[in-house]
C-alpha cells in the first residue's frame, strides 16, 4: 500500500474501532470520582451490540424524515472523520478550505437529527431541537474563528496542512494563540458533544435535556447508529483538540499517531474530571460561556495578526 495512504487509513480505522471506548473512559472516570466502581470500560460496545440486535418501534405519527435522521447522521459523521487529520498526519480527504465542508457536514447531521426530532411532534423533542440549534449556532462561530486563527497563523488553508505545519519550529511564535484556540475548542467540544456543563448525558429529566431529548423516540438499530455516531463525533473533536494542544511532531508516523491517540484518550479522562467537578450551567448561561470562548479566540486572532 502507498505509504501516504497508510497513516490516514489507520487513523480512520482507529476512529471507527476505538471511539466507543472514549465514552467508556469518561464514564469510568466519573465513577471513580463518585466513589463507585463504575461500568465496564467496554460497556458502550456492549450497548451498541445489544441495540443492533433489537427491532425498532416507530410511532405512527412519524414519517421517513424520522427514519432518515440516524442513518444520515452517522454517514455524515463518517465523512467528517475522513476530513480530519490525526495530529501531523494528513487526512484521506484533504483540499483547500476542507474545514468548511467538515463544519457543514456536521451541520447537515444536526439538521437531520433536528428534523427527525420535530417529526415526532412531541413537545419535549421540539424544545430540545430549539435548544440544540441555539447553542450550535454559537459553537459554530467559535469553531470557525478558531480555524481562522490557525489558518492565518500557519498560512495554510486545509486542515491537514494547517496541522502539519502547526508545531514546526518556525511557528512556535504562534504557540500562545494555538493554546488559546485549544481552550475555546475544549468548550466547543463539550457543547457539541452534549457534556456537562452544557448538557447532562446521564439525566432522565426530559425538561432539562438538550441533545438526549431529541433522540428519545429512537430505539433499537436507530439508537445504536445514533450512539455510535456520537462516539465518532467525540473522537472527531478530541482528535482536532489533541492535534492542537500537543506541541510534538516527531515526523515518525507511527509515533505521531500514537501520541495523538493517547492525547485523545487523555482528553476523555479530562472530560470525565470536568463532569465530576462541576454542575451543569443554567441554560441561560450557556450562550455566555460560548461568547467567552469566542472572545478567547478573538484574542488569539489578534495575536496572530500582530
Amino acid at each position: 500500500m502507498d505509504m501516504k495512504l497508510f497513516g490516514p487509513v489507520i487513523h480512520i480505522l482507529l476512529a471507527l474501532v476505538i471511539s466507543p471506548l472514549l465514552m467508556g473512559i469518561i464514564n469510568r472516570t466519573k465513577a471513580k470520582f463518585a466513589g463507585r466502581k463504575g461500568q465496564p470500560l467496554l460497556q458502550p460496545y456492549y450497548d451498541i451490540i445489544k441495540l443492533l440486535r433489537k427491532g425498532s418501534v416507530y410511532s405512527t405519527t412519524t414519517t421517513w424524515v424520522f427514519r432518515l435522521g440516524p442513518v444520515a447522521g452517522l454517514s455524515a459523521m463518517i465523512i467528517a472523520i475522513l476530513i480530519i487529520p490525526s495530529g501531523g498526519i494528513n487526512s484521506l480527504l484533504s483540499f483547500p478550505c476542507d474545514f468548511i465542508l467538515m463544519a457543514y457536514i456536521l451541520g447537515v447531521a444536526r439538521f437531520l437529527t433536528v428534523t427527525a426530532a420535530l417529526d415526532t411532534g412531541s413537545p419535549f423533542e421540539g424544545m430540545g431541537a430549539s435548544r440544540e440549534m441555539q447553542f450550535a449556532i454559537l459553537a459554530e462561530v467559535v469553531m470557525f474563528m478558531g480555524v481562522a486563527v490557525l489558518a492565518v497563523g500557519t498560512g495554510k488553508i486545509s486542515l491537514s496542512s494547517i496541522y502539519y505545519t502547526l508545531w514546526d519550529s518556525n511557528f512556535t511564535n504562534i504557540a500562545p494563540a494555538v493554546f488559546l484556540v485549544a481552550l475555546s475548542f475544549l468548550i466547543v467540544l463539550l457543547t457539541e458533544n452534549a457534556r456537562i456543563p452544557v448538557d447532562d448525558p446521564n439525566t432522565h429529566l426530559e425538561l432539562t435535556m438538550i441533545h438526549e431529548v431529541m433522540v428519545l423516540d429512537h430505539g433499537g438499530v436507530d439508537l445504536a447508529l445514533i450512539q455510535y455516531g456520537s462516539c465518532l463525533k467525540l473522537w472527531l473533536f478530541s482528535s482536532l483538540l489533541a492535534g492542537m494542544a500537543i506541541p510534538v511532531r516527531t515526523g515518525i508516523m507511527i509515533v505521531d499517531m500514537g501520541i495523538n491517540t493517547v492525547g485523545i484518550l487523555l482528553i476523555s479522562v479530562f472530560v470525565g474530571i470536568i463532569e465530576s467537578g462541576m454542575a451543569r450551567l443554567k441554560l441561560l448561561h450557556i450562550p455566555q460561556m460560548l461568547l467567552a470562548a469566542f472572545s478567547v479566540t478573538a484574542a488569539a486572532f489578534l495575536w496572530v495578526l500582530r
Binding site: F33, E275, G277
Partner: protein, 501 residues
C-alpha cells in the same frame, strides 16, 4: 370578637364533639379570615354529613402565637360563599370539600377536582371520575406553547400530571393535576380503628412512616386518655429525627444529581441507606414500620444498641458533612440553586405553605416548637430558617435541620428516660374529637379523629404537608426556566400518595 365561638384546645387533646359550636356561616367565615390574618394556619377543613341533609364543615385552625388549636363548624346546604377570595390558604381545602361532597363554594376562583375521587354520594356526582380529565388553563399567542408531562415519568417516581404554559423557555404557569394515587384511605378508616388502621397510616406516605404513625397514635392515645411512658416518647422522637435525616440527605443528593453534580449525588445516596439502616437497628425495618404503636413503641433500646447508634451517628455525621459541604462549596452548584424558584415569605404565608418550603422563605413555623408534643415538650429544637426562598434556601434549610437533628438524637440517646416503653391500652371514648399535629420531615402533619356513639371513627381526616405545598411549587415556577422545573420540584419533594390519600 374573632374566633370567640371557636373552641380552644391544644395539640392531641380530646374534646367532646358536642362542644364544637355550630356557627352561623357569616360568623364562621369571618372568624377564619381574621384568625388567618392574625398569623394562624388552616390545618384541616374536613366536612361530614349532618342532620336534615346538611353538610357540616369543621375548621381546624392552629395558632402558632399561643400554641392553641381552634375548632369550629358551620352547616351548609349545597353551597356556600367561598372563603378563598378573602383567604387564599383555604382554596385547596374548599376544592377538596366540593369534590368529595358534591357541593359548591360560590365564587371560588378556580374550582376543579384536586384528586378526582368519587363523591361519598355517587348520585350527586358532578365531576368526571377519570384522573386528569378536566379543563386545563390554556395560553394563546405567538411563541406560546404547552408542555404536558406525566402521569408516567422517566424516573422512578410517583404518577402526577404537570402542564406547563410556556412562552419560549419561560414558564407562565404550571398546572398540577394529581389523584392518580388515590386509594380511599380516609374512607377505609371510617368505623375503625380496625386491625389495618395503623398499617394504613404507616404506608399512607411511605417515606413519612414515623410521622404519620406518630400522629395517628397521638390521636388514639388522646381519645383513650392514656399517657404513654417517657422512654417511648424519646424513642419515637429519635425515629422521627432519623427519618428526617434520611430523607433530607436523600433530597440533597437528588438536588445535586439534578444539576449534574455527581460526587454529592453518589455519596448521599449511600449515606441515606446508612441512616435508614440505623432505623432498622431500632426496629428491624428501614422505614420504621412496626415501631410506633398506640400506647408506646414496640421496641426498646438497650445499652449495646445505644452505643452502636452513637457510633454510627458519629461516622454518618462525618460523611454527610463532607458530602454536603463539597456541594455548598462548589460555585457552579450555587449558581444553579441561587435565585431559582424563589418564593417570598408573603406569598408562602398567603398560600399557607408549611415545613421546609415555608421555613426557606423565613417563616418561623415548626410544629415541634409551636405545638410541642411528645419528647419535644421537654427538649426544645429551634426552627431552622433561611430567608431567600429559592432552591438554595430549601437545600440549606435541609442541611441545617440535619445538623440539629443529629444533635437532638445524640442528646436523647445519652439522656434516655428509664422505664417501660409501652403502657396499657384503654377503650376509645365516645363522641370526641381530637387534632394531632406532628412535624414530619416535609412539614406539618395533621390528623383529625372524630368518634361516634360506639367509640368508632365517625370520620378520620389526614392532611399531609404535601396538601399545603403542591400549589407552592406551581407558584415557585412562575417566570422560571422550564429547564429548572426538575430542580424546583426536587427542592420541594412533595408526596403524591400523601396528597392523594
Amino acid at each position: 370578637m374573632p374566633g370567640s365561638s371557636f373552641i380552644r384546645t391544644v395539640n392531641a387533646e380530646a374534646v367532646d364533639f358536642r362542644d364544637i359550636p355550630v356557627m352561623d356561616f357569616a360568623d364562621f367565615r369571618e372568624s377564619i379570615i381574621e384568625e388567618i390574618r392574625a398569623g394562624g394556619r388552616i390545618s384541616a377543613m374536613p366536612a361530614c354529613p349532618a342532620e336534615d341533609g346538611l353538610l357540616r364543615i369543621i375548621a381546624v385552625l392552629s395558632l402558632p402565637v399561643s400554641g392553641e388549636i381552634l375548632i369550629g363548624s358551620t352547616c351548609i346546604n349545597g353551597s356556600w360563599p367561598s372563603i378563598t377570595p378573602d383567604c387564599t390558604a383555604a382554596h385547596w381545602f374548599e376544592r377538596e370539600i366540593a369534590e368529595i361532597h358534591s357541593v359548591t363554594p360560590n365564587g371560588h376562583p378556580w374550582l376543579k377536582p384536586i384528586r378526582f375521587q368519587p363523591p361519598h354520594d355517587i348520585s350527586l356526582q358532578e365531576y368526571s371520575l377519570q384522573c386528569g380529565n378536566a379543563k386545563f388553563l390554556g395560553l394563546d399567542g405567538e411563541e406560546s406553547h404547552e408542555v404536558a408531562v406525566g402521569p408516567v415519568h422517566a424516573g422512578i417516581i410517583e404518577p402526577g400530571h404537570f402542564r406547563f404554559l410556556c412562552h419560549g423557555e419561560t414558564v407562565y404557569h404550571l398546572e398540577i393535576s394529581l389523584g392518580y394515587q388515590h386509594r380511599g384511605i380516609e374512607r377505609a378508616m371510617k368505623g375503625g380503628p380496625g386491625v389495618r388502621a395503623l398499617h394504613y397510616m404507616e404506608t399512607l406516605a411511605g417515606d413519612t412512616t414515623i410521622g404519620h404513625a406518630t400522629a395517628y397514635c397521638m390521636a388514639i392515645e388522646a381519645l383513650s386518655a392514656i399517657s404513654v411512658p417517657p422512654r417511648s416518647l424519646a424513642i419515637r422522637a429519635i425515629a422521627a429525627e432519623l427519618e428526617r435525616i434520611a430523607n433530607h440527605v436523600g433530597d440533597l443528593g437528588a438536588l445535586a444529581g439534578d444539576v449534574g453534580f455527581l460526587p454529592t449525588m453518589s455519596y448521599c445516596g449511600r449515606i441515606r441507606g446508612d441512616v435508614l439502616n440505623m432505623t432498622a437497628l431500632l426496629c428491624g425495618n428501614r422505614f420504621g414500620r412496626g415501631l410506633v404503636r398506640p400506647s408506646g413503641t414496640a421496641f426498646n433500646l438497650d445499652k449495646n444498641l445505644i452505643d452502636e447508634l452513637m457510633l454510627r451517628l458519629k461516622s454518618t455525621e462525618k460523611d454527610i458533612t463532607s458530602a454536603v459541604e463539597l456541594m455548598f462549596d462548589t460555585p457552579s452548584v450555587l449558581s444553579r440553586f441561587e435565585g431559582t424558584g424563589a418564593l417570598s415569605e408573603e406569598t408562602a404565608r398567603e398560600a399557607g405553605l408549611v415545613g421546609v418550603a415555608a421555613r426557606a422563605t423565613g417563616m418561623n413555623c415548626d410544629v415541634r416548637n409551636e405545638f410541642p408534643y411528645g419528647m419535644y415538650c421537654f427538649s426544645q429544637l429551634h426552627a431552622c430558617t433561611w430567608n431567600t426562598g429559592d432552591c438554595f434556601a430549601r437545600a440549606y434549610v435541609r442541611w441545617l435541620e440535619i445538623r440539629s437533628s443529629i444533635e437532638f438524637i445524640r442528646t436523647q440517646l445519652l439522656n434516655l428516660p428509664d422505664g417501660p416503653v409501652s403502657c396499657k391500652t384503654a377503650p376509645i371514648s365516645k363522641e370526641k374529637i381530637t387534632v394531632s399535629l406532628v412535624e414530619g420531615w416535609r412539614g406539618e402533619i395533621c390528623h383529625v379523629a372524630v368518634t361516634d356513639k360506639e367509640g368508632r371513627f365517625a370520620f378520620y381526616k389526614v392532611v399531609d404537608p404535601s396538601f399545603h405545598n403542591w400549589f407552592g411549587l406551581a407558584l415557585a415556577l412562575r417566570n422560571q426556566q422550564i429547564s429548572d422545573f426538575p430542580l424546583c420540584n426536587k427542592s420541594f419533594n412533595l408526596s403524591y400518595c400523601g396528597h392523594d390519600l
